[in-house]
Protein backbone atom coordinates (compact mmCIF):
# COMPACT_ATOMS: atom_id res chain seq x y z
CA UNK A 1 0.00 0.00 0.00
CA UNK A 2 2.86 2.33 0.83
CA UNK A 3 4.05 2.24 -2.77
CA UNK A 4 0.75 3.42 -4.23
CA UNK A 5 0.96 7.13 -3.33
CA UNK A 6 4.55 7.25 -4.48
CA UNK A 7 3.79 5.90 -7.95
CA UNK A 8 0.85 8.27 -8.10
CA UNK A 9 3.24 11.09 -7.25
CA UNK A 10 5.79 9.95 -9.79
CA UNK A 11 3.09 9.81 -12.40
CA UNK A 12 2.12 13.38 -11.56
CA UNK A 13 5.73 14.53 -11.80
CA UNK A 14 6.18 12.81 -15.13
CA UNK A 15 3.00 14.41 -16.41
CA UNK A 16 4.19 17.83 -15.27
CA UNK A 17 7.59 17.38 -16.90
CA UNK A 18 5.92 16.40 -20.14
CA UNK A 19 3.64 19.45 -20.09
CA UNK A 20 6.43 21.86 -19.17
CA UNK A 21 8.59 20.40 -21.92
CA UNK A 22 5.82 20.81 -24.48
CA UNK A 23 4.83 24.33 -23.47
CA UNK A 24 8.36 25.75 -23.16
CA UNK A 25 8.75 26.43 -26.92
CA UNK A 26 5.54 28.47 -26.90
CA UNK A 27 6.68 30.50 -23.90
CA UNK A 28 10.12 31.09 -25.45
CA UNK A 29 8.62 32.25 -28.75
CA UNK A 30 6.15 34.54 -26.97
CA UNK A 31 8.62 36.07 -24.54
CA UNK A 32 11.89 36.16 -26.45
CA UNK A 33 11.20 39.38 -28.40
CA UNK A 34 10.36 41.14 -25.15
CA UNK A 35 13.49 39.82 -23.45
CA UNK A 36 15.54 40.97 -26.42
CA UNK A 37 13.95 44.42 -26.27
CA UNK A 38 14.67 44.73 -22.56
CA UNK A 39 18.26 43.62 -23.01
CA UNK A 40 18.76 46.11 -25.84
CA UNK A 41 17.29 48.93 -23.77
CA UNK A 42 19.90 48.44 -21.02
CA UNK A 43 22.94 47.67 -23.18
CA UNK A 44 25.67 50.17 -23.98
CA UNK A 45 26.12 50.78 -27.72
CA UNK A 46 29.55 49.10 -28.06
CA UNK A 47 28.04 46.03 -26.38
CA UNK A 48 25.02 46.10 -28.67
CA UNK A 49 26.51 46.29 -32.15
CA UNK A 50 28.71 43.25 -32.35
CA UNK A 51 28.07 39.74 -33.52
CA UNK A 52 31.22 38.00 -32.35
CA UNK A 53 30.09 37.43 -28.77
CA UNK A 54 27.08 35.79 -27.14
CA UNK A 55 24.41 38.51 -27.61
CA UNK A 56 21.82 37.27 -25.12
CA UNK A 57 23.50 38.71 -22.05
CA UNK A 58 25.52 41.77 -20.96
CA UNK A 59 29.26 42.03 -21.63
CA UNK A 60 29.49 45.59 -20.32
CA UNK A 61 27.71 47.13 -17.35
CA UNK A 62 23.98 47.83 -17.94
CA UNK A 63 23.16 51.51 -18.44
CA UNK A 64 20.26 53.91 -17.85
CA UNK A 65 21.61 56.20 -20.59
CA UNK A 66 18.94 55.19 -23.12
CA UNK A 67 16.16 56.08 -20.70
CA UNK A 68 17.54 59.46 -19.67
CA UNK A 69 18.15 60.34 -23.33
CA UNK A 70 14.42 59.89 -23.96
CA UNK A 71 13.36 62.32 -21.29
CA UNK A 72 16.07 64.94 -21.84
CA UNK A 73 16.42 65.01 -25.62
CA UNK A 74 13.09 63.93 -27.12
CA UNK A 75 9.36 64.58 -26.78
CA UNK A 76 8.94 61.28 -24.94
CA UNK A 77 7.65 62.94 -21.77
CA UNK A 78 5.09 64.92 -23.79
CA UNK A 79 3.93 61.76 -25.58
CA UNK A 80 3.33 60.00 -22.30
CA UNK A 81 1.34 62.97 -21.01
CA UNK A 82 -0.64 63.06 -24.29
CA UNK A 83 -1.36 59.36 -24.06
CA UNK A 84 -2.54 59.66 -20.47
CA UNK A 85 -4.76 62.63 -21.27
CA UNK A 86 -6.21 60.89 -24.32
CA UNK A 87 -6.87 57.74 -22.33
CA UNK A 88 -8.52 59.66 -19.49
CA UNK A 89 -10.81 61.61 -21.81
CA UNK A 90 -11.68 58.56 -23.87
CA UNK A 91 -12.52 56.67 -20.69
CA UNK A 92 -14.77 59.48 -19.45
CA UNK A 93 -16.59 59.86 -22.78
CA UNK A 94 -16.95 56.11 -23.10
CA UNK A 95 -18.44 55.76 -19.63
CA UNK A 96 -20.82 58.68 -19.95
CA UNK A 97 -22.16 57.21 -23.19
CA UNK A 98 -21.79 53.45 -22.79
CA UNK A 99 -23.07 53.00 -19.23
CA UNK A 100 -26.53 54.48 -19.92
CA UNK A 101 -26.73 52.70 -23.28
CA UNK A 102 -25.72 49.34 -21.83
CA UNK A 103 -28.21 49.76 -19.01
CA UNK A 104 -31.05 50.75 -21.34
CA UNK A 105 -30.39 47.80 -23.65
CA UNK A 106 -30.10 45.31 -20.82
CA UNK A 107 -32.83 46.39 -18.43
CA UNK A 108 -35.47 48.70 -19.84
CA UNK A 109 -37.09 46.20 -22.23
CA UNK A 110 -36.84 48.50 -25.21
CA UNK A 111 -38.47 46.95 -28.31
CA UNK A 112 -35.76 45.32 -30.44
CA UNK A 113 -33.08 45.92 -27.83
CA UNK A 114 -31.29 42.68 -28.68
CA UNK A 115 -30.93 43.66 -32.33
CA UNK A 116 -29.94 47.18 -31.37
CA UNK A 117 -27.25 45.81 -29.08
CA UNK A 118 -25.89 43.63 -31.86
CA UNK A 119 -25.94 46.60 -34.26
CA UNK A 120 -23.90 48.67 -31.81
CA UNK A 121 -21.46 45.82 -31.34
CA UNK A 122 -21.08 45.28 -35.09
CA UNK A 123 -19.74 48.80 -35.43
CA UNK A 124 -16.76 47.58 -33.38
CA UNK A 125 -15.99 45.38 -36.36
CA UNK A 126 -15.99 48.17 -38.94
CA UNK A 127 -12.25 48.53 -39.32
CA UNK A 128 -10.52 51.86 -39.00
CA UNK A 129 -8.91 51.41 -42.39
CA UNK A 130 -12.33 51.94 -44.03
CA UNK A 131 -13.17 54.96 -41.86
CA UNK A 132 -9.91 56.84 -41.54
CA UNK A 133 -10.10 58.81 -44.80
CA UNK A 134 -13.59 60.24 -44.20
CA UNK A 135 -12.76 60.70 -40.51
CA UNK A 136 -9.78 62.81 -41.55
CA UNK A 137 -12.30 65.19 -43.10
CA UNK A 138 -14.48 65.12 -39.97
CA UNK A 139 -11.47 65.87 -37.80
CA UNK A 140 -10.45 68.89 -39.88
CA UNK A 141 -14.07 70.05 -40.09
CA UNK A 142 -14.26 70.40 -36.32
CA UNK A 143 -10.80 71.98 -36.32
CA UNK A 144 -9.02 69.31 -34.29
CA UNK A 145 -6.43 68.34 -36.86
CA UNK A 146 -2.85 68.40 -35.60
CA UNK A 147 -3.73 68.02 -31.95
CA UNK A 148 -4.25 64.99 -29.73
CA UNK A 149 -7.85 66.07 -29.19
CA UNK A 150 -8.57 64.53 -32.60
CA UNK A 151 -7.92 61.14 -31.03
CA UNK A 152 -10.21 61.91 -28.09
CA UNK A 153 -12.92 62.41 -30.71
CA UNK A 154 -12.30 59.25 -32.75
CA UNK A 155 -11.16 56.61 -30.23
CA UNK A 156 -14.64 56.34 -28.69
CA UNK A 157 -15.80 54.91 -32.03
CA UNK A 158 -13.79 51.84 -30.99
CA UNK A 159 -14.46 51.86 -27.26
CA UNK A 160 -18.16 52.79 -27.12
CA UNK A 161 -19.41 49.79 -29.12
CA UNK A 162 -17.23 47.36 -27.22
CA UNK A 163 -17.94 48.78 -23.76
CA UNK A 164 -21.68 49.10 -24.40
CA UNK A 165 -21.76 45.43 -25.32
CA UNK A 166 -19.65 44.50 -22.31
CA UNK A 167 -21.77 46.53 -19.89
CA UNK A 168 -24.97 45.22 -21.42
CA UNK A 169 -23.87 41.71 -20.50
CA UNK A 170 -22.86 42.95 -17.08
CA UNK A 171 -26.11 44.73 -16.26
CA UNK A 172 -28.05 41.61 -17.16
CA UNK A 173 -26.44 39.86 -14.22
CA UNK A 174 -27.68 42.43 -11.66
CA UNK A 175 -30.81 41.05 -9.95
CA UNK A 176 -33.95 42.77 -11.18
CA UNK A 177 -35.65 42.65 -7.77
CA UNK A 178 -33.30 45.23 -6.30
CA UNK A 179 -34.33 47.88 -8.78
CA UNK A 180 -38.01 47.06 -8.47
CA UNK A 181 -37.79 47.28 -4.70
CA UNK A 182 -36.11 50.66 -5.02
CA UNK A 183 -38.83 51.90 -7.33
CA UNK A 184 -41.56 50.69 -5.00
CA UNK A 185 -39.80 52.65 -2.28
CA UNK A 186 -40.23 55.79 -4.32
CA UNK A 187 -37.11 56.01 -6.47
CA UNK A 188 -37.77 56.86 -10.11
CA UNK A 189 -35.97 55.03 -12.92
CA UNK A 190 -33.07 57.43 -12.68
CA UNK A 191 -32.93 57.10 -8.91
CA UNK A 192 -32.88 53.31 -9.13
CA UNK A 193 -30.07 53.46 -11.71
CA UNK A 194 -27.94 55.94 -9.76
CA UNK A 195 -28.50 54.59 -6.25
CA UNK A 196 -28.92 50.87 -6.72
CA UNK A 197 -27.59 49.63 -10.05
CA UNK A 198 -24.42 51.73 -10.44
CA UNK A 199 -22.99 51.00 -6.98
CA UNK A 200 -23.25 47.23 -7.47
CA UNK A 201 -21.85 47.55 -11.02
CA UNK A 202 -18.55 49.14 -10.04
CA UNK A 203 -16.48 46.09 -11.14
CA UNK A 204 -18.13 46.13 -14.57
CA UNK A 205 -17.60 49.85 -14.94
CA UNK A 206 -13.94 49.57 -13.92
CA UNK A 207 -13.50 46.86 -16.54
CA UNK A 208 -14.96 49.22 -19.12
CA UNK A 209 -12.46 51.91 -18.07
CA UNK A 210 -9.56 49.49 -18.49
CA UNK A 211 -10.75 48.60 -21.98
CA UNK A 212 -11.22 52.23 -22.94
CA UNK A 213 -7.55 52.59 -22.03
CA UNK A 214 -6.07 49.41 -23.50
CA UNK A 215 -8.12 49.41 -26.71
CA UNK A 216 -7.11 52.98 -27.50
CA UNK A 217 -3.47 52.00 -26.85
CA UNK A 218 -3.75 49.31 -29.50
CA UNK A 219 -4.46 51.86 -32.21
CA UNK A 220 -1.78 52.96 -34.61
CA UNK A 221 -3.65 54.05 -37.74
CA UNK A 222 -5.70 56.96 -36.34
CA UNK A 223 -2.76 58.37 -34.41
CA UNK A 224 -0.59 58.17 -37.51
CA UNK A 225 -3.16 59.71 -39.85
CA UNK A 226 -4.64 62.50 -37.72
CA UNK A 227 -1.81 63.90 -35.61
CA UNK A 228 1.22 65.30 -37.40
CA UNK A 229 3.04 67.67 -34.97
CA UNK A 230 5.78 65.87 -33.07
CA UNK A 231 4.79 67.07 -29.61
CA UNK A 232 1.11 66.15 -29.99
CA UNK A 233 1.51 62.45 -30.75
CA UNK A 234 0.49 59.66 -28.43
CA UNK A 235 3.40 57.52 -27.33
CA UNK A 236 2.45 54.52 -29.49
CA UNK A 237 2.81 56.68 -32.60
CA UNK A 238 5.54 59.05 -31.45
CA UNK A 239 8.06 56.31 -30.68
CA UNK A 240 8.01 54.57 -34.07
CA UNK A 241 7.71 57.75 -36.15
CA UNK A 242 9.73 60.43 -34.34
CA UNK A 243 12.59 58.56 -32.70
CA UNK A 244 13.94 57.34 -36.02
CA UNK A 245 16.09 59.99 -37.66
CA UNK A 246 16.22 59.30 -41.37
CA UNK A 247 17.74 55.86 -41.76
CA UNK A 248 19.52 55.87 -38.42
CA UNK A 249 17.98 53.73 -35.73
CA UNK A 250 19.05 54.25 -32.12
CA UNK A 251 17.90 50.83 -31.07
CA UNK A 252 18.82 51.21 -27.43
CA UNK A 253 16.61 54.23 -26.78
CA UNK A 254 13.92 52.94 -29.18
CA UNK A 255 13.59 49.73 -27.20
CA UNK A 256 13.66 51.63 -23.91
CA UNK A 257 10.85 53.89 -25.14
CA UNK A 258 8.83 50.96 -26.42
CA UNK A 259 9.07 48.82 -23.32
CA UNK A 260 8.43 51.55 -20.78
CA UNK A 261 4.95 52.01 -22.24
CA UNK A 262 4.36 48.57 -23.64
CA UNK A 263 4.94 46.46 -20.57
CA UNK A 264 2.59 48.25 -18.13
CA UNK A 265 -0.16 48.21 -20.75
CA UNK A 266 0.47 44.54 -21.55
CA UNK A 267 0.34 43.55 -17.87
CA UNK A 268 -2.81 45.56 -17.19
CA UNK A 269 -4.53 44.12 -20.26
CA UNK A 270 -3.38 40.65 -19.23
CA UNK A 271 -5.49 40.73 -16.08
CA UNK A 272 -8.60 41.65 -18.04
CA UNK A 273 -8.03 39.44 -21.07
CA UNK A 274 -10.63 36.90 -19.97
CA UNK A 275 -13.26 39.64 -19.86
CA UNK A 276 -12.24 40.70 -23.37
CA UNK A 277 -12.61 37.17 -24.69
CA UNK A 278 -15.93 36.77 -22.88
CA UNK A 279 -17.05 40.07 -24.34
CA UNK A 280 -16.36 39.18 -27.95
CA UNK A 281 -17.55 35.59 -27.73
CA UNK A 282 -20.77 36.79 -26.13
CA UNK A 283 -20.23 34.96 -22.87
CA UNK A 284 -20.45 31.53 -24.48
CA UNK A 285 -17.41 30.28 -22.63
CA UNK A 286 -17.44 31.11 -18.95
Amino acid sequence: MAAAPRTQRQKEIRRHLWIYGAITPYVVVAIFPIYWMALTAFKQDPDLYRMDQFPLWFHMAPTWKNFSYLFYSTNYGAWIVNTMMIAAWVAVITLVIAVPAGYALARLRIPGSENLGIAVFMTYLVPGIILFIPLARVVSMVGLQDSWWALVLVYPTITIPFCTWLLMGFFKTVPMEMEEAARVDGCGYLGALLRIVLPVSVPGILTAVIFAFTLSMQDFLYGLAFVAPGDQKPVTVGVPTELIRGDVYYWGSLMAAALMVGLPVAILYNFFLDRFIQGITGGVGK
Binding site: Y26, M51, L108, I110, E114, P127, P240
Partner: protein
Amino acid sequence: MTASSSRGGPEAASPRAAAVSIVVRARPRRWFSSQTSRRLAFGYLLLAPAVLYVLLLVGAPFLFSLFLALSDASVADTTASFVGLENFRAAFESDVFYIALRNSIGFTVVAAVFKGLLGTSLAFLLLQPFWGRKFIRGLVVIPFTLPISISVLGWKWMYDSQFSVINWFLSRIGVIGTYGSAGWPVWLGEPHLALLACIMVNVWRNFPFSAIVLLAGFTSVPTEILDAARVDGTNFFQRFRHVVVPMIAPILLIGLLFDTVFTLSDLGVVYLLTQGGPANATKILPVLAYQVGIQAGALGRGAAIALFLFPLLLPLMILMLRNLKRREY
Protein backbone atom coordinates in the same frame (compact mmCIF):
# COMPACT_ATOMS: atom_id res chain seq x y z
CA MET B 1 -46.90 42.59 -16.82
CA THR B 2 -49.17 41.85 -19.78
CA ALA B 3 -47.85 41.28 -23.24
CA SER B 4 -49.39 44.46 -24.58
CA SER B 5 -48.03 46.74 -21.90
CA SER B 6 -44.57 45.25 -22.12
CA ARG B 7 -44.49 46.21 -25.75
CA GLY B 8 -45.43 49.65 -24.51
CA GLY B 9 -46.13 52.81 -26.42
CA PRO B 10 -49.51 53.41 -28.04
CA GLU B 11 -50.76 49.91 -27.23
CA ALA B 12 -51.14 50.93 -23.63
CA ALA B 13 -53.89 53.27 -24.77
CA SER B 14 -56.04 50.36 -25.97
CA PRO B 15 -59.37 49.93 -24.15
CA ARG B 16 -58.19 46.76 -22.49
CA ALA B 17 -55.09 48.35 -21.02
CA ALA B 18 -57.18 51.29 -19.88
CA ALA B 19 -59.61 48.91 -18.22
CA VAL B 20 -56.75 47.20 -16.44
CA SER B 21 -55.39 50.46 -15.14
CA ILE B 22 -58.86 51.45 -13.98
CA VAL B 23 -59.02 48.34 -11.90
CA VAL B 24 -55.55 48.85 -10.51
CA ARG B 25 -55.41 52.56 -9.97
CA ALA B 26 -59.14 53.32 -9.75
CA ARG B 27 -58.47 56.42 -11.88
CA PRO B 28 -57.68 56.26 -15.63
CA ARG B 29 -54.39 57.82 -16.68
CA ARG B 30 -53.29 58.92 -20.09
CA TRP B 31 -50.92 56.51 -21.87
CA PHE B 32 -47.96 58.86 -21.97
CA SER B 33 -47.80 59.05 -18.22
CA SER B 34 -48.05 55.28 -17.79
CA GLN B 35 -45.30 53.20 -16.29
CA THR B 36 -44.38 51.67 -19.65
CA SER B 37 -44.13 54.87 -21.60
CA ARG B 38 -42.04 56.48 -18.90
CA ARG B 39 -39.73 53.49 -18.89
CA LEU B 40 -39.38 53.61 -22.67
CA ALA B 41 -38.83 57.36 -22.74
CA PHE B 42 -36.10 56.95 -20.12
CA GLY B 43 -34.62 54.08 -22.12
CA TYR B 44 -34.47 56.00 -25.39
CA LEU B 45 -33.01 58.98 -23.57
CA LEU B 46 -30.20 56.82 -22.18
CA LEU B 47 -29.60 55.19 -25.54
CA ALA B 48 -29.60 58.39 -27.60
CA PRO B 49 -26.00 59.56 -26.97
CA ALA B 50 -24.53 56.19 -27.98
CA VAL B 51 -26.69 55.92 -31.10
CA LEU B 52 -25.87 59.52 -32.07
CA TYR B 53 -22.13 59.01 -31.56
CA VAL B 54 -22.08 55.85 -33.60
CA LEU B 55 -24.23 57.35 -36.36
CA LEU B 56 -22.14 60.52 -36.56
CA LEU B 57 -18.68 59.01 -36.32
CA VAL B 58 -19.11 55.55 -37.85
CA GLY B 59 -22.29 55.63 -39.92
CA ALA B 60 -21.85 59.04 -41.54
CA PRO B 61 -18.10 58.56 -42.29
CA PHE B 62 -18.89 55.22 -43.87
CA LEU B 63 -21.44 56.80 -46.19
CA PHE B 64 -19.03 59.68 -46.74
CA SER B 65 -16.32 57.23 -47.79
CA LEU B 66 -18.75 55.80 -50.37
CA PHE B 67 -19.23 59.33 -51.68
CA LEU B 68 -15.48 60.04 -51.66
CA ALA B 69 -14.83 56.85 -53.58
CA LEU B 70 -17.13 58.14 -56.31
CA SER B 71 -15.48 61.57 -56.42
CA ASP B 72 -12.13 63.09 -57.34
CA ALA B 73 -11.64 64.57 -53.86
CA SER B 74 -8.09 65.35 -52.85
CA VAL B 75 -6.35 67.04 -49.96
CA ALA B 76 -5.19 69.94 -52.15
CA ASP B 77 -8.53 70.71 -53.75
CA THR B 78 -11.55 71.27 -51.50
CA THR B 79 -14.09 71.05 -54.29
CA ALA B 80 -14.82 67.49 -55.22
CA SER B 81 -16.81 66.51 -58.24
CA PHE B 82 -18.62 63.27 -58.95
CA VAL B 83 -16.65 60.93 -61.18
CA GLY B 84 -18.73 57.75 -60.92
CA LEU B 85 -16.80 54.53 -60.82
CA GLU B 86 -13.63 56.14 -62.15
CA ASN B 87 -11.63 55.45 -58.95
CA PHE B 88 -12.59 51.79 -58.98
CA ARG B 89 -11.73 51.52 -62.65
CA ALA B 90 -8.35 53.13 -61.96
CA ALA B 91 -7.76 50.64 -59.16
CA PHE B 92 -8.61 47.69 -61.39
CA GLU B 93 -6.27 48.95 -64.07
CA SER B 94 -3.25 49.37 -61.82
CA ASP B 95 -0.88 46.49 -61.21
CA VAL B 96 -0.14 47.60 -57.66
CA PHE B 97 -3.77 47.12 -56.71
CA TYR B 98 -3.73 43.49 -57.84
CA ILE B 99 -0.48 42.90 -56.02
CA ALA B 100 -1.95 44.40 -52.86
CA LEU B 101 -5.15 42.39 -53.16
CA ARG B 102 -3.22 39.17 -53.70
CA ASN B 103 -0.83 39.92 -50.83
CA SER B 104 -3.70 40.81 -48.50
CA ILE B 105 -5.52 37.55 -49.14
CA GLY B 106 -2.36 35.44 -49.09
CA PHE B 107 -1.15 37.11 -45.90
CA THR B 108 -4.47 36.53 -44.15
CA VAL B 109 -4.85 32.91 -45.22
CA VAL B 110 -1.27 31.78 -44.52
CA ALA B 111 -1.23 33.57 -41.17
CA ALA B 112 -4.61 32.06 -40.22
CA VAL B 113 -3.35 28.52 -40.89
CA PHE B 114 -0.35 28.98 -38.63
CA LYS B 115 -2.37 30.72 -35.93
CA GLY B 116 -4.88 27.88 -36.06
CA LEU B 117 -2.20 25.20 -35.66
CA LEU B 118 -0.24 26.98 -32.94
CA GLY B 119 -3.40 28.15 -31.17
CA THR B 120 -5.05 24.72 -31.10
CA SER B 121 -1.97 22.93 -29.81
CA LEU B 122 -1.35 25.58 -27.17
CA ALA B 123 -5.00 25.50 -26.08
CA PHE B 124 -4.77 21.72 -25.56
CA LEU B 125 -1.69 22.18 -23.40
CA LEU B 126 -3.28 24.94 -21.35
CA LEU B 127 -6.37 22.79 -20.88
CA GLN B 128 -4.37 20.33 -18.75
CA PRO B 129 -4.29 21.06 -15.06
CA PHE B 130 -0.70 21.75 -13.99
CA TRP B 131 1.17 23.76 -11.41
CA GLY B 132 1.77 27.37 -12.47
CA ARG B 133 -0.75 27.23 -15.32
CA LYS B 134 -2.14 30.71 -14.68
CA PHE B 135 1.34 32.22 -14.71
CA ILE B 136 2.38 30.44 -17.91
CA ARG B 137 -0.85 31.51 -19.56
CA GLY B 138 -0.14 35.09 -18.53
CA LEU B 139 3.31 34.91 -20.13
CA VAL B 140 2.10 33.35 -23.36
CA VAL B 141 -0.57 35.99 -24.01
CA ILE B 142 1.80 38.96 -23.67
CA PRO B 143 2.33 39.27 -27.47
CA PHE B 144 -1.39 39.88 -27.88
CA THR B 145 -1.65 42.42 -25.07
CA LEU B 146 1.39 44.48 -26.04
CA PRO B 147 0.43 47.57 -28.12
CA ILE B 148 1.00 46.70 -31.75
CA SER B 149 3.36 49.52 -32.74
CA ILE B 150 5.55 48.73 -29.72
CA SER B 151 6.03 45.06 -30.52
CA VAL B 152 6.56 45.69 -34.22
CA LEU B 153 9.51 47.94 -33.31
CA GLY B 154 11.04 45.06 -31.38
CA TRP B 155 10.68 42.81 -34.41
CA LYS B 156 12.16 45.42 -36.69
CA TRP B 157 15.28 45.32 -34.55
CA MET B 158 15.29 41.52 -34.59
CA TYR B 159 15.12 41.67 -38.39
CA ASP B 160 18.04 44.14 -38.58
CA SER B 161 20.07 43.60 -41.74
CA GLN B 162 23.35 43.19 -39.86
CA PHE B 163 22.70 42.63 -36.14
CA SER B 164 19.62 40.41 -36.44
CA VAL B 165 19.48 38.14 -33.41
CA ILE B 166 17.53 35.63 -35.51
CA ASN B 167 20.45 35.46 -37.93
CA TRP B 168 22.90 35.13 -35.04
CA PHE B 169 20.96 32.11 -33.86
CA LEU B 170 20.64 30.57 -37.34
CA SER B 171 24.34 31.16 -37.91
CA ARG B 172 25.22 29.57 -34.55
CA ILE B 173 23.31 26.36 -35.31
CA GLY B 174 24.88 26.29 -38.76
CA VAL B 175 21.85 26.93 -40.99
CA ILE B 176 23.45 30.04 -42.53
CA GLY B 177 26.99 31.37 -42.72
CA THR B 178 28.43 34.44 -41.03
CA TYR B 179 27.55 38.06 -41.85
CA GLY B 180 28.55 38.90 -45.41
CA SER B 181 28.33 35.32 -46.66
CA ALA B 182 26.06 34.54 -49.61
CA GLY B 183 23.18 32.99 -47.68
CA TRP B 184 22.85 35.77 -45.06
CA PRO B 185 19.13 36.62 -45.05
CA VAL B 186 18.19 40.30 -45.12
CA TRP B 187 14.72 39.75 -43.73
CA LEU B 188 13.12 43.04 -44.72
CA GLY B 189 15.16 43.56 -47.88
CA GLU B 190 14.36 40.48 -49.95
CA PRO B 191 10.89 40.25 -51.49
CA HIS B 192 9.83 36.75 -50.46
CA LEU B 193 11.48 36.99 -47.04
CA ALA B 194 9.85 40.35 -46.31
CA LEU B 195 6.32 39.02 -46.71
CA LEU B 196 7.23 36.02 -44.59
CA ALA B 197 8.68 38.33 -41.95
CA CYS B 198 5.44 40.32 -41.79
CA ILE B 199 3.37 37.14 -41.57
CA MET B 200 5.58 35.89 -38.74
CA VAL B 201 4.93 39.03 -36.69
CA ASN B 202 1.18 38.69 -37.22
CA VAL B 203 1.29 35.02 -36.20
CA TRP B 204 3.42 35.80 -33.15
CA ARG B 205 1.06 38.54 -32.08
CA ASN B 206 -2.23 36.70 -32.59
CA PHE B 207 -1.62 33.00 -31.90
CA PRO B 208 -2.20 33.58 -28.16
CA PHE B 209 -5.58 35.08 -29.07
CA SER B 210 -6.51 31.92 -31.02
CA ALA B 211 -5.36 29.80 -28.11
CA ILE B 212 -7.35 31.71 -25.49
CA VAL B 213 -10.52 31.73 -27.59
CA LEU B 214 -10.20 27.99 -28.20
CA LEU B 215 -9.47 27.43 -24.53
CA ALA B 216 -12.68 29.27 -23.63
CA GLY B 217 -14.47 26.97 -26.08
CA PHE B 218 -12.92 23.77 -24.76
CA THR B 219 -13.70 24.57 -21.14
CA SER B 220 -17.33 25.22 -22.06
CA VAL B 221 -17.76 21.56 -23.11
CA PRO B 222 -19.18 19.68 -20.09
CA THR B 223 -16.91 16.82 -19.02
CA GLU B 224 -19.98 14.56 -18.57
CA ILE B 225 -20.58 14.60 -22.31
CA LEU B 226 -16.96 13.69 -23.03
CA ASP B 227 -17.10 10.94 -20.40
CA ALA B 228 -20.29 9.58 -21.93
CA ALA B 229 -18.62 9.52 -25.34
CA ARG B 230 -15.61 7.76 -23.84
CA VAL B 231 -17.83 5.11 -22.27
CA ASP B 232 -19.32 4.57 -25.71
CA GLY B 233 -15.86 3.53 -26.90
CA THR B 234 -14.81 6.53 -28.97
CA ASN B 235 -11.16 7.48 -29.32
CA PHE B 236 -9.68 10.94 -28.78
CA PHE B 237 -9.99 12.08 -32.39
CA GLN B 238 -13.55 10.85 -32.74
CA ARG B 239 -14.51 12.73 -29.59
CA PHE B 240 -12.73 15.82 -30.86
CA ARG B 241 -14.33 15.65 -34.29
CA HIS B 242 -17.88 14.66 -33.33
CA VAL B 243 -18.35 16.12 -29.85
CA VAL B 244 -15.95 19.01 -29.19
CA VAL B 245 -15.88 20.68 -32.61
CA PRO B 246 -19.67 20.87 -33.08
CA MET B 247 -20.10 22.18 -29.54
CA ILE B 248 -17.49 24.90 -29.82
CA ALA B 249 -18.26 25.79 -33.45
CA PRO B 250 -19.94 29.13 -32.61
CA ILE B 251 -17.08 30.35 -30.44
CA LEU B 252 -14.55 29.07 -32.97
CA LEU B 253 -16.25 31.00 -35.74
CA ILE B 254 -16.36 34.22 -33.74
CA GLY B 255 -12.67 33.92 -32.91
CA LEU B 256 -11.82 33.30 -36.56
CA LEU B 257 -13.91 36.25 -37.71
CA PHE B 258 -12.36 38.65 -35.25
CA ASP B 259 -8.89 37.53 -36.13
CA THR B 260 -9.58 37.84 -39.86
CA VAL B 261 -10.97 41.34 -39.48
CA PHE B 262 -7.99 42.42 -37.37
CA THR B 263 -5.47 40.86 -39.73
CA LEU B 264 -7.02 41.99 -43.00
CA SER B 265 -7.41 45.58 -41.88
CA ASP B 266 -4.14 45.97 -39.96
CA LEU B 267 -1.80 48.67 -41.16
CA GLY B 268 0.72 48.70 -38.30
CA VAL B 269 2.82 45.60 -38.93
CA VAL B 270 3.57 46.13 -42.61
CA TYR B 271 3.71 49.92 -42.43
CA LEU B 272 6.30 49.92 -39.67
CA LEU B 273 8.35 47.00 -40.99
CA THR B 274 8.59 47.62 -44.73
CA GLN B 275 6.11 50.32 -45.84
CA GLY B 276 5.01 47.80 -48.46
CA GLY B 277 8.45 47.29 -49.99
CA PRO B 278 10.76 45.98 -51.29
CA ALA B 279 9.31 46.41 -54.78
CA ASN B 280 5.70 46.06 -53.50
CA ALA B 281 6.45 42.58 -52.15
CA THR B 282 4.59 43.34 -48.91
CA LYS B 283 2.10 45.86 -50.27
CA ILE B 284 -1.30 45.06 -48.77
CA LEU B 285 -4.59 46.92 -49.24
CA PRO B 286 -4.45 48.96 -45.99
CA VAL B 287 -0.92 50.18 -46.79
CA LEU B 288 -1.89 51.06 -50.35
CA ALA B 289 -5.00 52.91 -49.14
CA TYR B 290 -2.93 54.88 -46.64
CA GLN B 291 -0.24 55.76 -49.14
CA VAL B 292 -2.68 56.80 -51.85
CA GLY B 293 -5.27 58.45 -49.62
CA ILE B 294 -3.17 60.28 -47.02
CA GLN B 295 0.42 60.44 -48.22
CA ALA B 296 -0.40 61.21 -51.85
CA GLY B 297 -3.53 63.10 -50.83
CA ALA B 298 -5.88 61.42 -53.34
CA LEU B 299 -8.76 60.95 -50.92
CA GLY B 300 -11.13 59.51 -53.50
CA ARG B 301 -8.66 56.90 -54.78
CA GLY B 302 -7.70 55.96 -51.23
CA ALA B 303 -11.30 55.58 -50.11
CA ALA B 304 -12.05 53.37 -53.12
CA ILE B 305 -9.10 51.08 -52.30
CA ALA B 306 -10.06 50.85 -48.62
CA LEU B 307 -13.62 49.99 -49.61
CA PHE B 308 -12.36 46.88 -51.40
CA LEU B 309 -11.80 45.47 -47.92
CA PHE B 310 -15.51 45.65 -47.31
CA PRO B 311 -16.65 42.94 -49.74
CA LEU B 312 -13.88 40.77 -48.29
CA LEU B 313 -15.18 41.37 -44.76
CA LEU B 314 -18.92 41.42 -45.43
CA PRO B 315 -19.55 37.66 -45.66
CA LEU B 316 -17.68 37.21 -42.40
CA MET B 317 -19.73 39.91 -40.72
CA ILE B 318 -22.99 38.37 -41.84
CA LEU B 319 -21.91 34.99 -40.49
CA MET B 320 -20.98 36.68 -37.24
CA LEU B 321 -24.32 38.46 -37.05
CA ARG B 322 -26.24 35.21 -37.40
CA ASN B 323 -24.03 33.73 -34.73
CA LEU B 324 -24.51 36.51 -32.21
CA LYS B 325 -28.26 36.34 -32.55
CA ARG B 326 -28.19 32.83 -31.23
CA ARG B 327 -26.09 33.64 -28.22
CA GLU B 328 -27.39 33.25 -24.71
CA TYR B 329 -26.24 34.74 -21.46
